[in-house]
Symmetry: C2
Subunit: 506 residues, 2 copies
């Protein structure tokens, strides 16, 4: 420390027999603040935020919202009353993803038990790396992963929670290449032959992001054709493998998808597993979206063959509503591959002379150091609902999907893109001016403009949110996602009537 | 859907005009549950969890803890009373990282405003990718990053919150190689010459984990010597660069550290920036731990030269206590490098025909898809404390460090490893039987056994937690971290007396 600052240090130190001002060290004030905040959360985020009679969003243009929020960080602190006002504003202007008319993403709803688990997680603020500082969560993560693996069909294996499905998918790629070429960890990709991995054109974009990030390059991703329904075609996979080999690449991984992002398609896992077995390729299943179907005895056939995979990515924060983020990477491996591939034995964290079994320090399985606790929210929700309760949710989402599909077929102005096999329902709303004009040359171009206009209207009104996208040669269509466990038929009716109402002048 | 299940779907659907059982759709029951849980959190995690008169941990052997927690997930759900009991147990057996005697990691304490922000974040459960579903947080993240950049010394630039400092460091590596070789994204590392990056032997282990994950291989990490104090030696960096070039590698990145994990050392950034400038290398500063010192006018000289970096990793969840995780990657770049390097333009999420400025959809800057909101907790805490309040925290941590150092020097049986320049204080507790025996041949070996024994005793007693590690040729020593803003001199006195008491028979 420099001389000039020693005096200051002494000065500060004089005060250091007492805690700092503000709330530090004043337990009563801390409790009072948190009780107030919690009251606001209950009123604004939970009661209003999940009530169909409230708005799902409160649209503001960015510049106006900046003004309203007064975002700038200042030198002076603010009063508790100002802080509480800020909490109200943040909630007020945020989108209510727990709202029954939030159909915009692959997650929706606000499970109270999961939320309870998340609040406890935050209050305990620990990192998942050692038994020393996360004893409950090290054991709990193991148990939750074991349960998920059992649903895949494995009575042994390994796994870890990752910060999202994209990173789970990257883990699978890294593990697959390490298993084949352990040298890669030390010597890098330059020591290896050119590698090729295979996935369908309907796969999630994280596969190509991952290939770039892991140094493989997006060219290493060989795109396999999908059928009309969006399922990978095993025969084309065979062809692509031969092609890659003929070009001098070494195939090492097939990434199948169970529940594609837009169409909700399930790749034929058994047929793909046959191909992988024949060519000795690692089979990864990106079941981030569709994995939760494994809970349903009625619908789990969609993932038949998943037990033959080497790795599975499954995000319970999607269909099960565990809350962002809850993303499991599951492995069939029992040879400690995860730790061998990612471990670096940092001596300040993973001391080998600890007084307990250091195999419990799971932090060296991951490429992160500090890692959030993502298991408690799922565990607590599961304890409350039971496997049966979660199964009912899944079954009910499928049942409501049937209801929506029948309504779409019955109503004028709605057209299915295809029969869904999952809980994504893709459809066009054809406004009055375009009905019966399918043969007109600018039909598709005009239809493409409908969804963006309706989206703008619903968001500005705050009545609901639903996503849209083009897809291949298809014009913009809506993708309805039935993920919120509190949905009832009335919400579906509302969706359709609201589109009719918003689009009647188009 | 198969025929067999159609009947079941109809059956389920009949019930679907009402919500599912349990709590789904019963707002009063949801509120009651959450109020109960919140009461438990206040009592157990916050009041008891931060009280010096309570235990910091409740040690159980893994097998016993498994029994106590009854972790298994069943088919049947449980009653609300059982769930509340589980919440109590989870908190009871978890380590209290907010406790004033938790000195074990580079984070400690429980800032009430940050916790308020985290609870709101959880209740809003959104993803940081689009303005559409995260309007408040897209703008807020931008503002918080701008503030952090200003403290680095940049009035423009880019950045993003990452899931931890390790991934921030990987981003820096990926950006540096992409900037030099944009081909890498598509064609992979095989299209590039062999690359070399440089960091000191005191760097965080995520650098080598990152090199392996990104396909560079750990061999690409050239280890630069550090001086006695733990600072990278610029002359050795020069030498290592020449060596790498002579071996046919292309240097592309230097990763300096501001606040090393064990010793708390700050690399000489200005001198390293000179080297980088001379060789046109990307300078990354891993300031995950030390970045928060930038808030202190008195101590920020430790990071002099940081404004010359190309990228900075800074974790406000460490010294500022924002809560896990809050990890910023900051960039000097103004050419949209982040999005060019990581973007993949997924058409279902980043539609270009949206009704607002799609530059606000920041999700394509990252390799994740869904991304947690990590800005609110820091923003709210900053609003409450002001920059001044946060500066006081940092200054106070330094001042308490001085106090601890003087006490260590004054007390028999304590020996500093070195004078600290940050708030890591590394020291040995030399038990009575080893005092004055430094020249004995087995001194070091015996001293090594002291810390593990004391650690076991303090954890089993629940009195405090402090980390230890060997370092180079040095025997196991304690690393005291003064990160908790509620610490007072009495906590320091307690630490020393407790070590004396725990080790008096050794």
């Amino acid at each position: 420390m420099r001389n000039g600052s020693t005096l200051l240090a002494d000065f500060i130190l004089m005060a250091a027999s007492k805690p700092l001002a503000a709330l530090d060290g004043d337990p009563m004030a801390v409790e009072a603040l948190l009780r107030d905040v919690f009251g606001i959360v209950i009123d604004e985020a939970i009661r209003k935020g999940t009530s169909a009679s409230e708005k799902v969003c409160e649209w503001k243009e960015p510049e106006e919202l900046k003004q309203l929020l007064d975002l700038e960080l200042q030198s002076q602190g603010e009063s508790q009353e100002q802080i509480l006002e800020r909490c109200r504003a943040v909630i007020h202007y945020s989108v209510k993803t727990g709202h029954p008319r939030f159909f915009n993403q692959l997650f929706s709803g606000l499970d109270p038990h999961a939320l309870a688990g998340r609040i406890i997680t935050e209050s305990l603020n620990t990192s998942q790396y050692t038994y020393e500082i996360a004893p409950v969560f090290v054991l709990m993560e193991e148990e939750v992963l074991k349960k998920l693996r059992a649903l895949v069909g494995w009575n042994a294996g390994d796994g870890v929670f990752c910060p999202g499905g994209s990173i789970s998918n990257m883990y699978a790629m890294n593990l697959a290449r390490y298993q084949r070429y352990p040298d890669c960890k030390q010597r890098g990709l330059r020591a290896l032959p050119p590698l090729a991995l295979f996935t369908s054109k309907e796969c999630h974009y994280s596969i190509s992001k991952g290939a770039a990030f892991l140094g493989l390059g997006t060219d290493s991703v060989r795109v396999v054709k999908a059928d009309e329904r969006g399922k990978m075609i095993p025969e084309d996979l065979e062809r692509q493998i031969s092609l890659a080999e003929a070009e001098g690449s070494v195939p090492f991984l097939v990434s199948a998808t169970s529940g594609t992002t837009v169409l909700g398609a399930f790749d034929p896992l058994d047929a793909l597993a046959d191909v992988c077995q024949r060519h000795r390729l690692w089979l990864h299943v990106d079941a981030a979206w569709g994995g939760s179907v494994l809970l349903s005895r009625t619908h789990r056939h969609l993932l038949d063959g998943i037990q033959r995979a080497d790795s599975v990515a499954w995000n319970p924060h999607k269909l099960l509503g565990a809350g962002l983020q809850c993303s499991a990477l599951l492995l069939r491996d029992t040879s400690n591959l995860l730790k061998r591939c990612h471990g670096s034995q940092a001596s300040y964290l993973f001391q080998q002379d600890k007084f307990y079994d250091v195999a419990l320090d799971t932090g060296d399985k991951v490429v992160q150091c500090g890692r959030r606790v993502d298991c408690l929210k799922l565990w607590l929700m599961w304890k409350a609902q039971g496997g049966q309760g979660l199964e009912q949710r899944v079954d009910r989402a499928f049942a409501l999907t049937r209801y929506l599909v029948e309504e779409i077929k019955a109503r004028e102005g709605f057209e299915l893109v295809m029969e869904p096999e999952f809980v994504n329902v893709c459809f066009w709303f054809v406004p009055p001016s375009l009905r019966g004009k399918k043969e007109s040359p600018d039909y598709s171009q005009k239809l493409s403009q409908v969804a963006p206009v309706l989206k703008e209207r619903m968001v500005k009104k705050g009545s609901m949110m639903i996503g849209y996208q083009p897809h291949g040669t298809r014009a913009n269509f809506f993708r309805m996602v039935l993920a919120n466990p509190t949905l009832v038929k009335a919400d579906i009716d509302f969706l359709l009537c609201e589109l009719e109402s918003l689009g009647q002048d188009l």
